[in-house]
């Protein structure tokens, strides 16, 4: 079967196979196999494009097992645009092979907020009755029983993007974010349930037309020129990419309004004025960078900047290697996701017994289900900045 992946030839030839990406690829690091490496995947894409390779089972497996963390893009001295290559490839692959039921079902639910809400409430009850074994599903161990009614301000200055899954499963993170905004006197509104899913996971899994549809919906649901703050690294990354996904002026303007919440706060004067003169204690936290914050948004240093006035930030020794969550990756490739996570767990262990923080729901859930004590960085900030007596 000869198939074209419709890849940009210049992007393909830009890889000279030097191998400097290998240590930054989570799947190569767990398998030591070229077919699980960025340069290997690019060689196979090239093989397919040049008609030297059919889209065989092994080629598809190689391309399907990519987490798309884009650690290789950060590491590549020649600036190979791997993300574009694999994104385009995934889209073509989706029309050539069966997508697993788990993945299809998961992505479908995200687009149907009522089903998601109802299912989550049922799951939350079952969890309380101990009828769902822990770690059986890629969900938080304690899903909130009921939705949160957020208080919103009149005449808002910013919008907090609440998304879909995160709002239902990890609403405590949104509450923490809003409490931080409250305590420094920033007026806000939330995007809320009417806006729904940003399409990040669909885009990641190669369903670009669905992602584009979601992008159009989100853009039209959030007019105005208010900054849009995001506390999920994966959602933030795709919202910032709407401009290039849709290629319209409207989308580009929308994307320019999007900020990771940490990134926005550290540049806000009200935030800076509210900082304590000295660190209120000697607590240490381990910072685990979500790949979408580090390699896509490149806003990971802002997490440290935000936390440092309150706690000491400890770095992992794996130079930002992915934890294996990878959007829907842990649903689609559970075995490999677990092996990648095992490496991360060892790295966390080497950093000591401390709380871990990660600014993305996928990473939080994936690591929590392995028994890691984990919070969103904004939750840690909220603990300190809420309790005024701590730093006055």
């Amino acid at each position: 079967m000869s198939t074209s992946l419709n890849l940009d030839k210049d992007h393909l030839t830009a890889c000279i196979s030097c191998g400097l990406c290998l240590p930054h690829c989570p799947t190569y690091q767990t398998t030591q196999d070229e077919s699980r490496s960025p340069r290997g995947r690019i060689s196979l894409m090239r093989g397919v494009e040049d008609g030297l390779m059919p889209l065989s089972k092994e080629v598809i497996e190689s391309l399907d097992t990519c987490v798309q963390c884009l650690g290789c893009e950060t590491a590549c001295p020649s600036g190979v645009r791997y993300g574009e290559l694999i994104g385009q490839t995934r889209e073509v692959l989706n029309s050539h092979r069966k997508v697993s039921f788990r993945l299809r079902a998961g992505l479908w639910i995200l687009l149907h907020m009522r089903v998601l809400l109802f299912g989550s409430r049922v799951l939350a009850v079952l969890q309380r009755l101990k009828l769902v074994p822990n770690k059986a599903l890629p969900v938080p161990s304690r899903i909130p029983l009921r939705g949160v009614r957020y208080v919103q301000n009149d005449d808002p200055e910013v919008i907090l993007f609440t998304g879909c899954v995160m709002d239902v499963w990890l609403s405590q993170v949104h509450e923490a974010a809003l409490s931080v905004l409250d305590s420094i006197g920033v007026r806000y509104m939330i995007s809320g349930n009417q806006v729904g899913c940003c399409g990040a996971l669909h885009s990641h899994a190669g369903f670009r037309s669905t992602a584009n549809k979601q992008a159009l919906e989100v853009i039209s649901a959030l007019p105005s020129d208010l900054p849009i703050l995001v506390d999920s690294a994966g959602c933030g990354a795709v919202l910032k990419e709407y401009g290039s996904l849709l290629g319209t002026q409207e989308a580009r303007i929308f994307s320019s309004r999007v900020y990771d919440i940490h990134e926005w706060l550290i540049n806000d004067s009200k935030w800076r004025e509210s900082l304590p003169a000295r660190r209120p204690g000697n607590k240490k936290v381990i910072v685990q960078d979500p790949c979408h914050l580090r390699h896509v948004q490149k806003a990971h240093t802002s997490v440290r900047e935000l936390l440092t006035p309150f706690v000491e930030c400890l770095e992992l020794d794996d130079e930002g290697l992915c934890c294996g969550a990878g959007g829907a990756f842990s649903v689609d490739q559970p075995e490999l996701a677990k092996e990648i996570r095992d490496k991360k767990l060892k790295s966390i262990q080497r950093a000591g017994r401390h709380l871990v923080v990660s600014a993305n729901p996928g990473c939080m859930i994936h690591l929590e289900s392995a028994g890691v004590e984990i919070l969103h960085p904004i939750q840690v900030v909220a603990e300190y900045i809420g309790g005024k007596e701590d730093h006055e």
């Binding site: 196979s17 191998g19 240590p23 030591q32 196979l44 093989g47 020649s78």
Partner: protein, 482 residues
């Protein structure tokens, strides 16, 4: 012989002996393991094996012997001379899964490691112990210690610390007939000929290393990294000679010319001067007092020889970024053109100025872009000819220019390879450097280890026969990428 039927039998036996999941022969694996980091389009492996133990390697080699096949050892595939490119449908034996650090002995300052341990991973695992592994090839974050042994790899800090050979105490080797031997001794008590020294740099043509005892080097108490820039390449080259002539042997002296500095700066953004004709990175280490004196002397020598400015890195982070730039240089060239061909000749340091001039002249004459980034302290050049392989006729010019660069280096009293090895790519130049008698003697050595010619055939030594599947660089097949 019917290769495909033979392949079936061989494949089944390998699956039986080392496990199905460790043996691949699908088209994707064959494509991926057909080449390394070099410009060679590659042959086709018969079977790709991923041994995890010494016994697996013995089993692979015995299977190769039973089926009259050759084998090619392979590390991370970052080699630049085609050393891991398969010829004649061999078993490709990837040692990447043999990546455990097996024993660390701080008292005797050595460690036994698997051949698949990544060079930088070893040093990282020693963080805080006061030791490191000294050889630091630019690809150290990816390349394996097995590959370092095969190529007797160098690296910036080998100027003061010596190349890989000086850091290997003992090697457990599976010989090409499947026999397991140990060469060398961790206590340095090996008697008789130094076969360990012969094996290091053997490019996988003498057997496969399955365990390697490496020396641990104490971390220097003080390190200073200097970034010097020059408006004339010749001034930079003269400075290098002058520093060494003054009696100082820095830990490293690296040179990068304007073109390479520009692509590297685009990647690391550490503030390399992009308008300079050349920069030198000089590192001095040792006791703090000595380092201070050496830094001052290097500053004054370089200013006397035309340095525009001397910057001393003020933090570990700045040092690391400067080195990251240097070590990413090869990988960054695709910013300019998607193909490169480089040489690795070593010339006497005193001839740097004239040889560099000749290299630029040759590239100009053939209308090619040349980028120079190299270990200036020990005269190990890396002229990179970068080009677009799609451009008609460019390969002919690249090859002729490459040959002239080699000739200029040899005429200056140099040798073919400093650290990348001969592999497939440079064996055509071996006769320029060695006489017939020299080559015959080297062949006797190879035969002593590998009488049947099974270990990594068609590499290093020029021979009448050539690798039938590897298309020579100047006969690229349609659609091949370089």
């Amino acid at each position: 012989m019917n290769r495909s039927r033979g392949n079936d039998q061989l494949f089944q036996e390998l699956c039986r002996d080392i496990g199905t999941n460790r043996v691949h022969r699908d088209g994707a694996s064959q494509l991926l393991y057909s080449r390394d980091g070099s410009a060679f389009p590659g042959g086709i492996p018969g079977v790709v094996c991923f041994p995890e133990t010494t016994q697996h390697v013995v089993d692979c080699i015995k299977a190769a012997n039973r089926h009259d096949r050759s084998f090619v050892p392979r590390g991370a595939g970052t080699g630049l001379a085609g050393g891991a490119v398969p010829c004649d449908a061999p078993l490709v034996i990837s040692t990447t899964k043999m990546n455990s650090i097996l024993e660390v002995n701080y008292e005797k300052r050595f460690a036994w490691v698997g051949p698949g341990v990544v060079n930088l991973d070893l040093t990282k695992s020693l963080t805080g112990t006061g030791f490191h592994f000294a050889p630091d090839p630019s690809s150290q974050q990816s390349c394996t210690i097995g590959g370092n042994v095969a190529n007797n790899s160098g690296g910036p800090h080998c100027l003061a610390y010596g190349v890989t050979n000086a850091h290997i105490l003992a090697i457990e080797v599976v010989l090409p007939d499947g026999t397991l031997v140990q060469l060398g001794d961790v206590d340095g008590h090996a008697s008789g000929y130094d076969l360990r020294g012969v094996f290091v740099g053997g490019e996988g043509t003498l057997g496969i290393a399955t365990r390697i005892a490496v020396k641990l080097t104490p971390d220097p108490p003080e390190i200073r990294t200097l970034l010097l820039d020059f408006m004339d390449v010749a001034d930079a080259a003269k400075t290098v000679s002058a520093i060494i002539a003054s009696g100082i042997v820095p830990a490293a002296i690296e040179m990068m010319d304007k073109r390479i500095v520009n692509v590297v700066e685009e990647f690391v953004k550490v503030g390399y001067p992009t308008d300079a004709a050349a920069v030198l990175i000089i590192e001095v280490d040792g006791l703090p007092e000595g380092v201070k004196i050496e830094v001052e002397r290097i500053q004054s020598i370089s200013l006397e020889h035309g340095a525009r400015s001397v910057r001393v890195a003020s933090s570990d982070e700045e040092r690391e970024q400067i080195w990251k730039g240097r070590k990413s240089a090869f990988g960054a060239v695709a910013q300019i053109q998607p193909g490169y061909y480089l040489h690795d000749t070593v010339i006497p340091r005193t001839k740097l100025v004239e040889v560099l001039e000749a290299v630029y002249e040759i590239a100009n004459r053939y209308e090619l872009i040349v980028m120079n980034v190299f270990h200036a302290g020990d005269g190990n050049l890396h002229p990179l000819l970068v080009f677009d392989p799609q451009e008609p006729g460019v390969m002919e010019r690249v090859l002729v220019a490459g040959e002239e660069i080699v000739q200029v280096s040899l005429d200056a009293g140099g040798v073919l390879s400093g650290e990348h090895g001969i592999g497939l790519e440079k064996k055509r130049f071996m006769e320029k450097l060695f006489s017939e008698e020299d080559l015959a003697a080297q062949k006797l050595l190879k035969d002593a280890f590998d009488p049947d010619g099974r270990a990594n055939p068609f590499k290093v030594l020029p021979s009448g026969a050539s690798c039938s599947e590897v298309n020579h660089l100047n006969q690229l097949p349609d659609g091949a990428w370089v």
